[in-house]
């Protein structure tokens, strides 16, 4: 049940232009051009080290591009005007720009010294400056949405991986970002906990008009919720298209090889699961 690319009439909310990122003389992203439309759900697939995560980290301002520009809402993210010249953005500019971006991490990164409720409330109170009672109300709504209303007084260490990641999703959502980044959010989870997290993300994708950039190894999931799929390899977008185009009619040999390998792995995975079930 895949959709066609939606007819997005508005201006893109995010625009990467000619973006290159070099780490220790290793080029991880090569001259990337990418537009993300408001509300668009994009899945980024590709082998490890293909630059997927860097695309998200540059937008979250966790890494600075080596060259090129990123625009958010038509405004440059990493640059600002100063006396008629374009200079690297300062913390104040980044702080303002970040308010429309949110991110969920592979390793959750919950605050271990705070209860679940405070994890979700903290930024509302201290970043958005929303009075505590209202902030708590909204945090509770979000925690209910991810099915954790009975755990609000617990600490992160008392939760399962899947529960932790659902808290992290609530924590990012409560800030109402216009674009939400998911960086391999199920990769650190035990297989049996992946489903509950994916279900929560699917729910958000259906209900919210937040744009989403999902870096994922879950192909069925990508196929189900994405409007557009990008396949990256070696720091470039090798191929992109609707889920049908990507999965049913891959053009480039690299994508074909990637999908074949993925299918094989899944078959092997299923086979070993059946074997394990038989042994029990």
């Amino acid at each position: 049940m895949s959709q066609n690319i939606k007819n997005f009439s508005a201006e893109p909310i995010v625009r990467y232009r000619n973006v290159t990122k070099v780490f220790d003389q290793r080029v991880v992203l090569k001259r990337l051009d990418l537009d993300i439309m408001p509300g668009e759900k994009i899945a980024l697939i590709g082998p490890s080290g293909s630059g997927k995560t860097t695309i998200a980290r540059l937008l979250m301002t966790l890494e600075q591009p080596t060259s090129g520009t990123i625009e958010v809402n038509g405004e440059l993210l990493w640059h600002m005007q100063h006396k008629g010249k374009l200079i690297t953005a300062n913390e104040k500019h980044l702080h303002r720009m970040r308010s429309s971006i949110g991110m969920v991490f592979q390793h959750f990164n919950l605050f271990p010294h705070m209860t679940i409720l405070r994890n979700v409330m903290e930024a509302l109170v201290h970043v958005r400056k929303i009075p505590k009672p209202q902030a708590q109300q909204r945090a509770l709504e979000l925690l209910q949405q991810v099915g954790l209303q009975d755990h609000i007084k617990k600490y992160p260490a008392q939760l399962s991986g899947g529960q932790k990641q659902r808290v992290a999703i609530a924590r990012a959502l409560v800030m109402e970002p216009k674009i939400l980044l998911f960086d391999e959010v199920t990769s650190a989870l035990d297989p049996e906990l992946v489903g509950e997290v994916l279900d929560v993300i699917k729910g958000i994708a259906e209900k919210k008009d937040t744009a989403m950039l999902l870096i994922t190894h879950e192909m069925d999931f990508a196929r189900e919720i994405a409007d557009r799929i990008l396949f990256t390899d070696g720091g470039v977008i090798v191929e992109q298209g609707t889920p049908e185009q990507i999965f049913e009619n891959p053009q480039s040999p690299r994508l074909q090889a990637f999908l074949t390998r993925f299918l094989k792995e899944r078959q092997y995975g299923l086979a070993s699961e059946t074997a394990a079930a038989g042994a029990e």
Binding site: R98, H107, F111, A123
Partner: protein, 224 residues
């Protein structure tokens, strides 16, 4: 040899200065704790113009003897900038500055133990730098350092006799005065040693208990 009558006679005089010794230790410790935090943050700063000089000064203070620093405070400052400090204040500042350089290292290890993901989550939630430090990083980095800080408190307490060199009337100074007037040093000095032992030992036990409780708390949080 050992004069019991004399011992009982001088004990009250020695005990009378115990509060001063403890007050000097505690005020110097609080001063060191307060100064150690910004010192640790400055040393970690990405701004080289801040981190390098601060690190150099801290290294200099740590690698030179305390007593010289105390002499600078008491004998150099009055003649150079006309600032005369009482022995107590000079002792508090000198001992405090000296140990702040050690405590800043303790803080640093605590700060570095906080995973990188905590900083990244703080950025993603758009916390300001100040809020990230105050609400996310420091609350996680300070508790594990408490036992080490406790040990430094005891070390500083045992360091207070150095302050007798700048005429602070603490335990050693009192013992020396008593000894020189009666020529009976054994009793006075032995008592000083015993008083230090009696005060340090329970403190050390307390620190160890604290350490065990912290470990137990971490363990139970992980299991639950």
């Amino acid at each position: 040899m050992w004069d019991w009558n004399y011992t009982w006679e001088i004990l009250p005089q020695l005990l009378k200065v115990v509060p001063i010794t403890i007050a000097a230790t505690l005020s110097a410790f609080i001063f060191a704790c307060a100064l150690g935090a910004p010192l640790a943050m400055a040393k970690q700063s990405k701004n080289k113009w801040l981190s390098l000089p601060v690190s150099a000064i801290a290294d200099f203070i740590r690698k030179t003897p305390l007593i010289i620093q105390l002499f600078v405070l008491v004998f150099v400052l009055p003649t150079s900038i006309g600032l005369t400090l009482s022995p107590f204040v000079a002792g508090m500042i000198g001992l405090g500055i000296h140990y702040s350089t050690y405590l800043s290292e303790v803080y640093r290890s605590g700060i570095e133990a906080v995973p990188k993901g905590q900083w990244e989550a703080s950025t993603a939630l758009n916390f300001t730098k100040t809020n990230t430090w105050l609400r996310i990083i420091l609350p996680q980095s300070i508790p594990p350092t408490i036992p080490v800080m406790g040990n430094y408190l005891i070390t500083m307490f045992k360091e207070t006799p150095t302050l007798s060199a700048i005429t602070l009337v603490e335990l050693l100074m009192t013992a020396k005065t008593l000894g020189s007037s009666s020529f009976k040093y054994v009793e006075a000095l032995t008592l000083v040693g015993l008083i230090f032992l009696v005060l340090s030992y329970p403190s050390a036990l307390l620190v160890r208990a604290l350490e065990r409780r912290m470990q137990a708390r971490e363990g139970s949080a992980a299991i639950k």
